[in-house]
Symmetry: C3
Subunit: 156 residues, 3 copies
């Protein structure tokens, strides 16, 4: 039932961020961007934290095989947080308040263990930015890695 892998190497950390240009409401796969960042900094074993700096876009880990899953997830979010005249906060457009609700129901931050330089994602897991606004936006994800590094090359 239990497995274990304990590391003695000295711990260090790295901060970074990626900026994602969204195309309006929808999923955008950022798995590769995060994997590239881990490679770039030379991450070995540790913990990656991804934190989106917005309240009308959010993060989720979801199936990466059938793109139709994303279609259904978006429709589901639309049903859970429909547009309509019933919101008090309506000065930023009809898609803004639903966007805040959808952000609250999904994730602003995610912690992902890293082993051997890779996130321990399951076979069918991808990490996505969900844009909840109708128009394209620039979305920034703050990254933090804490753990061991393959070599000092990654630590500046």
């Amino acid at each position: 039932m239990l497995a274990q892998d304990t590391v003695r190497h000295p711990l260090s950390q790295a901060h970074g961020h990626i900026v994602v240009e969204t195309n309006g409401a929808g999923f955008q796969d950022v798995t590769r961007h995060l994997a590239n960042w881990l490679t770039e900094i030379g991450a070995e074993n540790g913990l990656l934290t991804a934190f989106i700096r917005h309240t009308s876009a959010s993060l989720t880990i979801q199936e990466n095989a059938d793109p139709n899953v994303q279609v259904d997830l978006l429709r589901s979010l639309d049903q859970l947080a429909p547009q309509g005249p019933h919101y008090v906060h309506d000065t930023e457009g009809p898609d803004d308040m639903p966007a805040h609700i959808k952000s609250m129901l999904t994730s602003t931050s995610l912690g992902i263990p890293v082993v051997g330089g890779s996130m321990v994602l399951g076979t069918w897991q991808g990490l996505y930015v969900i844009e909840h606004r109708s128009r394209p936006h620039s979305r920034e994800i703050a990254l933090h890695y804490l753990g061991t590094f393959f070599s000092d090359a990654g630590v500046q």
Copy 2:
């Protein structure tokens, strides 16, 4: 697309907690309390984890500009988890089971990178306790910081 800032200082950690007195169902901004704790312990660069020790109150990161957003978020949670006679668990009052559902749909723990002593929150992001019960409660948030400290003054 990528930015990086890697730190060589020795890593250390701090545990703490804050207690929030809520006024019944509603949002309570705790951003300043968390920022004060980071200042008090002398946090520099690292990762802050906030963990609420309850199942009928929760955490969220949401817009801090227009207070009406919170009105709509609360109404939305009430629609997603309405009070009613349809719950099996009803011994703790009509607001208790909806409170558990709302907690499940929002966050119990949040990880937030810290850079230069500050959480990397976006301009419009605040960190809130959401009280889901009707009556006021004392709510405890456990805090953990892991990273570098400005000086040994913060490490006791």
Copy 3:
């Protein structure tokens, strides 16, 4: 309002995982498994991250006292993500797309501070795997602990 407990011991980390055999849709309490893992590795003060490597099962921290709470939580999830003919993604059975939605609305990863070898869970908090598929599945939770250890015995 503030409390603090800062640790000077050298930091180290451990990776591991647990595998949970679910019985079809429902809650499965894994609190004890995680507590056992912390004991086994000799964790003292730090941060535990639990990450489920699936997109049709998820994690939540919920009330551990009245089992009826779990009945109502499951019903609530069924109402928020009902089965039906309205999904585009329907090749993996009628319970698959609702399972992805339920995973998105709950948690894939949780960060929990550890003090004195124990998670800082509240009195009524338990950590659960929620199986969202109808049939039993093997579900893997990746674990990561970063902090101090009671002795080198836990660090291999």
